[in-house]
């Protein structure tokens, strides 16, 4: 039995481009909060049993977000928003009121540790899991002090990621 249930293919919406001279390259990937595709149902209430866990992904690597989107969607999560930096993450969380926030630390514009207290205030019921390339230790402690519920190191396999997120949202 696979943890990865195919639900739908995921393609990135290309960024709109404002005229200008011919380009050599195209830029896929959202770099700000994904616009709300459906209205916010519960006004940020805690996750209801039976409903899919609603997730916001905050990471500056578009490919990583795409990967997480697919494996989490297949695993029954509902990825409702994304942010490519701390600021965009805050906007996405404010707009989408998720049950779960997956948060990178090293990001441009606003890093994860700076965004954490804002996210905590904005979504007091949501579980915040830091997902970072930095080893745990001091950083993990700081993240947990600042409002994170868990710290997951990048390098974890798809199954480990899903198991960990299921564990924390079941609590």
């Amino acid at each position: 039995m696979s943890i990865l249930q195919v639900e739908r293919p995921v393609h990135d919406a290309a960024l709109g481009r404002e005229g200008g001279p011919p380009v050599l390259d195209s830029v896929p990937g959202a770099r700000a909060a994904t616009p709300a595709s459906k209205p916010d149902p519960g006004g940020g209430a805690a996750h209801q049993v039976g409903e899919p866990v609603r997730v916001v992904l905050v990471d500056d690597t578009e490919d990583l977000r795409a990967m997480l989107r697919i494996i989490l969607t297949r695993a029954g999560f509902d990825v409702v928003g994304e942010g490519a930096d701390g600021q965009a993450g805050i906007e996405a969380v404010a707009a989408r009121r998720p049950d779960l926030i997956l948060l990178d630390l090293a990001m441009p514009v606003m890093d994860g540790l700076t965004a954490l207290p804002h996210l905590r205030l904005l979504a007091p019921e949501a579980k915040i899991v830091v997902f970072s390339g930095f080893g745990g230790g001091e950083l993990a402690a700081r993240a947990l002090d600042t409002g994170a519920d868990d710290y997951l190191e990048k390098g974890a396999s798809a199954r480990q990621i899903v198991d960990r997120l299921r564990g924390i949202t079941a609590r």
Binding site: D25, S26, T61, R74
Partner: protein
Amino acid sequence: MVDVSNRGVDSGARSAVLDLLREAGTHPLVTSFPHGAVFFFDTDLRYLAAGGLGLTDVGLSREGLEGRTIVEVFPADTAAAIEPLYRAALRGESSEMDVQYEDRVYLQRLAPVHDEVGEIVAGIGFTQDVSAARAAEHKLRESNQRIRLMFENAPIGQALVELDGRWREVNTAVCTLTGYDAEQLKSMTFQDITHPDDLETDLEHLGRLIEGQISSYEIEKRYFTATGQTVWVLLAVSLVRDERGAPDYFIAQIQDITERKRQQDALQDLVAMLAHDLRTPATVIDGFAAILADLDRGADPSETQDYLGRIRAASRSMHALLDNAMTATRFAAGLLTPSPEHIELSSFTTDLARSLEGQIPSVLADIPTGLTAWVDRGHLSQILTNLLVNAKKYGGDTVRVSAAPGAGSVNLAVVDNGSGVEAEFIPDLFERFTRSATARTSSTRGSGLGLYIVRDLARANGGDASYDPSGDGARFDITLPVAPEQP
């Protein structure tokens, strides 16, 4: 003062003493006087008696001296030199001096001879061959001087430290290292300038040294300099005990290892950063591989292609990170040697942008066809890749790459439409990251190796890199030579 020149009042006592002295030449005390000579002289500076085993060593004899004055015995200059001392002795002033005679050194002592009533009637002199003693003293002085010079001028810090921590002696290197002069240090203790975090370890070792549990120790520790800076030192300490075995003072050798520490830290930071940066693409590859493994047989081929494309892009970004790390390491080790060639910038940029598709913003190239730079192909590729990836990371969605000929150089500009670099970060933009891993989660540009590499590579190729803060977005200027430098 006794008048010795008045011969008219020649007392009985005086003539009795003089008579005795005239006989003294045969006295065993005189004849067997070792290592030198003994003699008496009267107020005319005439020798009354002389003897001693050393007399013949200097070509003199009892017969040659007795009854003769110093002027009759010695060459005029010698006589002139010794006369004042002879006369001083006759006035009651004893003297002691080294006299060089031929290749030997004699210690000459002169003193008055008194009669029974205490009047000076004559002078007495001893000369003793002290050549061996003087030579030994000279050697000792030289040896002390050598030790002193070795201590003073040793390239590493050396110090004698009292048991309570006061500096007793410090050499120049200690002064240079700490920024204090010797006098300042001698009024301080080593505790005063030791970093508080390192003090306990140091004191603990000193305690064990005094207890005799160890004979010496070596630790790395930090001092605060006079200007408040921190220096790392390798400290080696041993204890000197007195004759009875009681602790007397410490000998310390202090070596500045600040630069070595800095390099170690930089290397550690590099490894930590690389580990961090590689985890993201590794996770992407791992994730998409798992997704592909789970795809239905009938999955849309374009979906498969999309995932494979992302895996390839992640793998390429890992290579780029490793290239940067290798370049930084090779540059630091002085091993970065460019192999320049003429590179046509327009097609080079177009090809590179195409190969980086997906990783960089859209590129608008504005480069005159045929314009070339004299640069290492791999290095130019790394320079442009870093700038383009950087533009994407920091908010630009379009990058304009333009080039124009300059004076003996080509000026390449990479301009994005992002938010630019905040003024406070511009000074350190091209510096190799100096922040700790924790601080590096911060969102500032230049926190990685990318821009550091850009400038190093540009300089290694005879060019340079700079940041232009005048526009809205970020603008990086790269100058490169157009042709090999003429010798």
